[in-house]
């Protein structure tokens, strides 16, 4: 997508609310793409733009080589909305059969049954959806998104309400789909999940893409290391050697360009009587990346 802008205008108001302020993003085919950012960053508007649910004020969106307004393109997309509303009086089988029909596919009862088995709803297939738990509804939503083996899966909070064991299952299904060659577009407030499933991530804030790229590139902390010494280390002496005191007791941070510089710094610390008990690269988790990216822009809170 290029130069994507979306301004929500209200009646009798001159100035509209800008949800997207010129977004450029390209998602490679076959990748598992995660979208993260604080509340109000424009993530949902962004996802809806991909599907043509929201029409951009400016800019162009190309999905799977076409426009999302083209039903033939949408036929190749599986979508799970954030708060999927399912008809309570229907059975899961009937719901999937309807989705199959509306996707323009031939009725495929065995295929749908397999899908329900895959998401762990085989036993509840004949029950009314109204009696389902939140997690079961999410699983059914996922099954509906998987109907017709789509080329692109757009999932908005797919594990919302699902128990930890269920999350594992969902994650397994998503990884299977990625391995099959499906492009995955994931928006989840569980950063660990994004981290485990996605290989590329975009950080959104204030209607713009702040950072985008391969996860390991973004997560690479650079020259900063976290060091923990055994109790009794002399903090002042360590500070003189370039070790900055961290938040927890015995935790310090040190800048080192390479392994030689790191070992030299550690040798200096040991010479001051400090005993090393733990060493790791600082800033490797997604949360740190997000905080590091968004915090300077003044954003508060991290959520989907």
């Amino acid at each position: 997508m290029r130069g994507l802008r979306k301004t929500y205008r209200r009646l009798f108001r001159k100035v509209g609310n800008e949800a997207l302020r010129g977004m450029d993003l390209s998602v490679p085919e076959g990748s598992a793409f995660g979208l993260i950012g604080p509340n109000g960053a424009g993530k949902t508007t962004f996802i809806k733009s991909i599907l043509g649910i929201v029409q951009p004020t400016e800019g162009t969106v190309r999905v799977l080589g076409g426009s999302p307004e083209d039903p033939r393109i949408r036929a190749r997309i599986g979508y799970l909305p954030e708060r999927l509303h399912l008809p309570g009086s229907w059975t899961a089988t009937a719901f999937l059969a309807t989705v199959t029909r509306l996707k323009g596919l031939k009725a495929d009862a065995p295929g749908n049954r397999r899908l329900l088995e895959r998401v762990g709803l085989a036993d509840a297939a004949g029950r009314k959806i109204g009696g389902y738990s939140k997690g079961m509804r999410q699983r059914l939503g996922l099954a509906a998104a998987l109907v017709g083996s789509p080329s692109l899966l757009v999932l908005d909070e797919p594990t919302d309400g699902i128990d930890p064991m269920g999350r594992l299952e969902v994650r397994r299904i998503l990884l299977e789909e990625v391995q099959r060659g499906t492009t995955l577009f994931l928006n989840s407030h569980l950063l660990a999940e994004t981290e485990r499933v996605c290989d590329r991530v975009a950080i959104l804030a204030d209607g713009r893409v702040l950072r985008e790229g391969r996860l390991e590139d973004l997560a690479r902390g650079g020259a900063r290391w976290m060091v923990r010494f055994a109790p009794g280390a002399d903090a002042e002496a360590l500070a003189e050697e370039g070790f900055a005191r961290g938040s927890a007791d015995g935790v310090y941070r040190v800048e080192a360009e390479d392994a030689a510089a790191l070992n030299a710094a550690l040798d200096r610390a040991r010479s001051k009587g400090a005993l090393l008990v733990e060493l790791r690269r600082d800033g490797t988790d997604l949360e740190s990346v997000l905080l590091g990216t968004v915090a300077p822009a003044g954003a508060a809170g991290v959520a989907a």
Binding site: I53, R72, R74, R83, H85, P87, T98, R101, L102
Partner: protein, 278 residues
């Protein structure tokens, strides 16, 4: 499969699960059963000689059975017409808002169907429901009086279908309202307003002289020119049900006009829906 039919099926399945619609069907069945079991009609050479309801003789004249049943059929046509539209307004007011609710509309819009398919399918589904209910009730009525009095007429059936055309115009406006405001109450209010306006429009020649000659009268005439003339249609339905001469110039054109108004309202809905973000 045609997406419009698919959405219509979706709406119908949703409707069938609603308890009050089932209650309505049960209610019609009960009323028809009670009438069938409690009504005794004595017909002598085509004249309605005596009728008993719950064993009590009804004080009525002895006259040709079709003439005697005219008021019954006329009343039935009016009840089906106005009662049916009113029930339809209340019963179907939340179909569209519910379909457009967050979490459901996104899912539907992401499916490979055109936006207008969604509205057209909802409209079609509701109309199938209306026609089904009407045919069920009016066929029952025709059967009861046909078997009991030996007087067979398709009048009430035709009158019922005409009521469905009237409802089509009303529901099209309700559907369009749902694309503007997602509120069942406002949809019902819009339907009610169209119904009342439609009654007024049918009497426009009689009402127009009450306005002062000039702008106000011209404005009234202009507005009521395109509004669906529901009261005229109801009157024609009554005439057809009771096999009495029609008062309108051409029933076909009137019916077409009301239906085309509905399609016009639906086109406004398409226009709005195509440009709306969810």
């Amino acid at each position: 499969m045609n997406p419009v039919l698919g959405i219509a099926g979706y709406v119908l399945r949703e409707a069938m699960s609603r308890k009050f619609i089932l209650a309505f069907v049960v209610g019609i069945t009960l009323v028809l059963s009670v009438v069938a079991l409690s009504l005794r009609i004595e017909v002598v050479d085509g004249a309605l000689a005596a009728s008993r309801l719950f064993g009590n003789e009804l004080r009525a004249s002895i006259r040709s059975v079709d003439v005697a049943l005219r008021p019954v059929y006329t009343a039935a046509a009016f009840i089906v017409f106005y009662g049916g539209i009113l029930f339809g307004i209340v019963a179907c007011s939340d179909f569209a808002p519910s379909l457009l609710s967050p979490g459901r509309i996104e899912h539907l819009l992401a499916l490979p169907i055109q936006r207008w398919h969604l509205l057209a399918g909802t409209f079609l589904g509701v109309m199938v429901l209306a026609v089904g209910g009407t045919l069920y009730g009016t066929t029952g009525l025709v059967l009861i009086f046909g078997v009991k009095a030996g007087y067979w007429t398709a009048g009430p059936l035709i009158a019922g279908l005409m009521a469905c055309v009237g409802f089509a115009a009303v529901y099209a406006v309700m559907l369009t309202t749902a694309t503007l405001v997602r509120s069942a109450a406002l949809c019902a209010a819009a339907g009610f307003v169209v119904m009342v306006s439609g009654i007024i429009a049918g009497f426009r020649q009689q009402i127009a002289p009450m306005f002062e000659d000039g702008f106000s009268r011209s404005a009234f005439e202009a507005v009521t020119l395109i509004l669906p003339r529901l009261s005229s249609l109801a009157q024609a339905a009554g005439n057809i049900a009771s096999s009495t001469p029609l008062e309108v110039n051409s029933l076909g054109m009137l019916l077409m006009g009301v239906l085309v108004f509905g399609f016009g309202a639906l086109a406004v809905g398409f226009w709005r829906f195509e440009g709306k973000d969810y």
